[in-house]
Amino acid sequence: MRILVNGVWRETAAAELAATLEELGYAGRIVATAVNGEFVAAEARPRTALAEGDRLEVLAPMQGG
């Protein structure tokens, strides 16, 4: 299916968020996720189904003021 990952359309095979993150190369990384603007906690990722057209945000620690 096609989902929008950090503003870029990506083709993914996995049905849920945890597997999608692995597929996208985020395995073992410290990131926070939101789907369609709603925060999804790390422990909820395996049971969070993704659908065609979903907007996924994957955010990592970064410098800030």
Binding site: N6, G7, L24, G25, Y26, R29, I30, V31, A32, T33, A34, G37, E38, F39, A41, A42, E57, V58, L59, A60, P61, M62, Q63, G64, G65
Partner: protein
């Protein structure tokens, strides 16, 4: 000592982590500033990138507290979601809440700020709201559950210092028991000293240090200024006057009468 949300702090200088020439310079600047709190943020990172992971392990190695921000958020929804994401990644209930209302001045949208602060305080966050010096907004933020306020000195990154001395002085006088941290707009150490002399509890500086020719030396200079300003506040500065008052005694002066 300064206490914010039950945490005792020796340092009155909070440091931002953005815009340094290198991670090595950032680390050295943190040490020179003797900072105990660093602001951090969350940004998009692609699957192959590792920059964020490297940054986070560097910050953890510095042994300081982190204050995640919601920088760049222009709506309540964005700010609240970002706060949740930051709490999970950084493992802290602290959040420097920014809801930006104007793209040119990066001025806080105080209406959105208040709404987001109400939501986050109710959810157990310990909110550090980036606000203006407006007294009524400050009162509402405290009513919402904020236990510290971060009024701006001037627009973020502008280096203009304390733009509204009257407003900031009034804010300090109106809320004597609330920790007030001047956030944003400071350019040189004298601005920081001035904030502490006025009775502000601490300052948060980023661009003024990170973009200085020698960020490490500038971090040290800000640390000295903050210490001097706080010592001066405790020492009780004199009132400014409009006319001269002789400092040398006038009694016993020669050649008179």
């Amino acid at each position: 000592m300064l206490e914010v949300y039950g945490t005792q702090l020796r340092s009155r200088l909070l440091l931002g982590t953005a815009r340094y020439p290198s991670p090595t310079v950032l680390s050295a600047a943190v040490r020179a500033a003797r900072a105990e709190i660093l602001t951090v943020s969350l940004r998009r990172e692609a699957g192959g990138e590792r920059a964020g992971q490297g940054f986070w392990s560097l910050v953890r190695g510095l042994g300081v507290r982190v204050l995640p921000n919601t920088a760049g958020c222009h709506s309540v929804k964005e700010a609240v979601t970002t706060a949740h994401m930051a709490r999970e990644v950084f493992g802290t209930p602290w959040v420097k809440l920014e809801v930006i209302g104007d793209a040119d001045t990066l001025q806080p949208d105080v209406f959105g700020l208040l709404e987001a602060a109400r939501i986050l305080c109710a959810e157990g966050f310990e909110v550090f709201p980036y606000t203006t010096e407006d007294l009524v907004v400050a009162e509402r933020l405290l009513d919402a559950g904020c236990r510290v306020l971060m009024p701006w000195g001037a627009p973020i990154g502008s280096g203009r210092g304390l733009n509204n001395l009257y407003g900031l002085t009034a804010l300090r006088a109106r809320f004597p028991g609330v920790p007030l941290i001047v956030d944003a707009g400071l350019g040189v150490p004298s601005h920081a000293a001035q904030a502490l002399e006025l009775g502000f509890d601490a300052v948060l500086v980023n661009t003024a240090v990170a973009q200085a020719t020698d960020p490490v030396a500038m971090a040290g200079a800000f640390a000295l200024a903050v210490e001097a300003g706080h010592a001066a506040r405790l020492a009780g500065p004199i009132e400014a006057r409009d006319f001269a008052v002789p400092s040398t005694p006038v009694v016993g002066q020669a050649f008179r009468g």
